[in-house]
Amino acid sequence: MTSRRLKRRFAETAEDPTLQVSLTVNGELIERTASVRMLLSDFLRHELGLTGTHVGCEHGICGCCTVLIDGKAARSCLTLVAQADGTEVTTIEALAAEDGKLHPIQQAFKESHALQCGYCTPGMIMNIFGRFNEPEPLDLSDQGIRTMLSGNLCRCTGYVNIVAAVRRAAQLLGRV
């Protein structure tokens, strides 16, 4: 394979229409020009470098990309960044304290061995976090927790320890 030769030149830009978006991400006001078709997931990950939000399907089933939009859990892969204009977005990076101390939900995951590869984990946690923030009462029965988790796929854990982690998180947060 030869490599020491002139590299090809090409137009670096795409022909995408763009728009100016302004949104708050993890408390910080972000103003950027973005392609109108850019998914919020890609915006967070590649424009802002917040790679804790993962992408597992880009069609709404796996939940890996879950973030909060205006305090409510949502799929960032099914949201254009254009649609998030003017909103407040919270990602997994905002959960732990500044000094790195884990949020009680994260702590519960660790104690319960509720993650293996950790790919589904941020989405799982943001979904749970969103649910814990709702005023609706939590159903902490086995079935209730499983229903809460449904919408987030995990291929590693068989969910058993994630169910336990939700219960533990509820304890740590004084919700039981």
Binding site: E15, D16, P17, L19, V36, R37, L39, D42, E58, H59, G60, G63, T66, I69, K72, A73, A74, R75, C77, L78, T79, L80, A82, Q83, D85, N127, G130, R131, E136, R146, T147, M148, S150, G151
Partner: protein, 290 residues
């Protein structure tokens, strides 16, 4: 799996939105995006313009008046599901909404979007059919109200013209003294239904059904009323034999062909069972509400 190129507008008023939609024959309305974005990501849809209606204040909110629950276009599933007034006025709605997808999807997806999307297996269209509601649309030639029966054509197709925006849906409140029930069979929690059945039943003093409405989703190319089954049950005391006969009549209305998730024969069995169970459940509730 990234969306193809399109242009994007986010008007602040309905009027602007109608103009924008009419301006381009390949324009599409973007509401919650929970059906449209997957289609874009798979490049199964290729609109040249998306008209995002989320910033239009006139399209927000839920109100109840004159026996109708009026759900404006940008009302998210979860809002309708949790609305206490709606729970009082028609508990069937909240019960059914809990079966639509999962909370993060319901936080974004809209009720009217679901009606416009018109998936043959979707729950919200079934509710509209069951209750006899309607959809109000507005286009360059004005506003019109389309009854549920006429609104759904077939899978993913409605009577809404391409240049019309659905501005609201109207769900009748539950008739006084009626019992209700909805359940569905899905392979996975939150999936579209293999089959779903809703029932609204009112009983007379003697315990006979004097008003009964049944509808199903997932069994045909659009949600359907189970009229044959209603007929068989109407005026009866809803005994075992009648329920069985109604179940069978409902099964005979299943036209969905075999697909990877269910054979036609299986859907028939499910619909028959759900009709029996839902009628019994609705009747039991009717008894307590009399």
């Amino acid at each position: 799996m990234k969306p193809p190129l399109f242009r994007y507008q986010a008007p602040k008023t309905l009027k602007e939105a109608v103009i924008a939609l009419a301006s381009d024959p390949d324009a599409m309305v973007l509401a919650g995006g929970q059906s449209l974005l997957p289609a874009l990501n798979f490049r199964l849809a290729s609109p040249s313009l998306l008209v995002d209606i989320q910033h239009i204040d006139e399209l927000k909110g839920i109100s109840i008046a004159h026996g109708q629950i009026i759900v404006k276009a940008m009302t998210r599933h979860r809002e309708l599901e949790l609305d206490e007034r709606v729970r009082q006025a028609n508990p069937l709605i909240a019960e059914t909404m809990a079966h639509v997808a999962h909370i993060p999807i319901r936080n974004r997806g809209t009720v009217v979007g679901s009606l416009c999307h018109a998936d043959g297996a979707a729950e919200v269209p079934l509710v509209l059919i069951l209750l006899g509601g309607s959809v109000v649309v507005e286009g360059p030639s004005g506003r019109r109200e389309i009854e549920a029966d006429k609104f759904f054509r077939f899978h993913l197709s409605t009577a809404r013209r391409r240049d019309e925006i659905a501005v609201e849906a109207r769900f009748p409140v539950l008739p006084a003294g009626s019992g209700w029930a909805f359940d569905e069979l899905t392979r996975r929690h939150g999936d579209y239904a293999i089959a779903g059945v809703g029932a609204v039943v009112r009983l007379d003093a003697g315990g006979h059904a004097n008003d009964i409405r049944l509808a199903a989703c997932g069994v045909a190319s659009r949600p359907i009323r189970l009229l044959e089954a209603e007929k068989l049950l109407s005026g009866t005391a809803l005994g075992e034999a009648e329920l069985k006969a109604a179940g069978k009549a409902a099964a005979d209305l299943v036209s969905a062909p075999d697909d990877m998730h269910a054979t036609n024969a299986y859907r028939r069995r499910v619909v028959a069972a759900l009709v029996r169970r839902m009628v019994a459940k609705a009747a039991a509730r009717a008894r307590t509400r009399q």
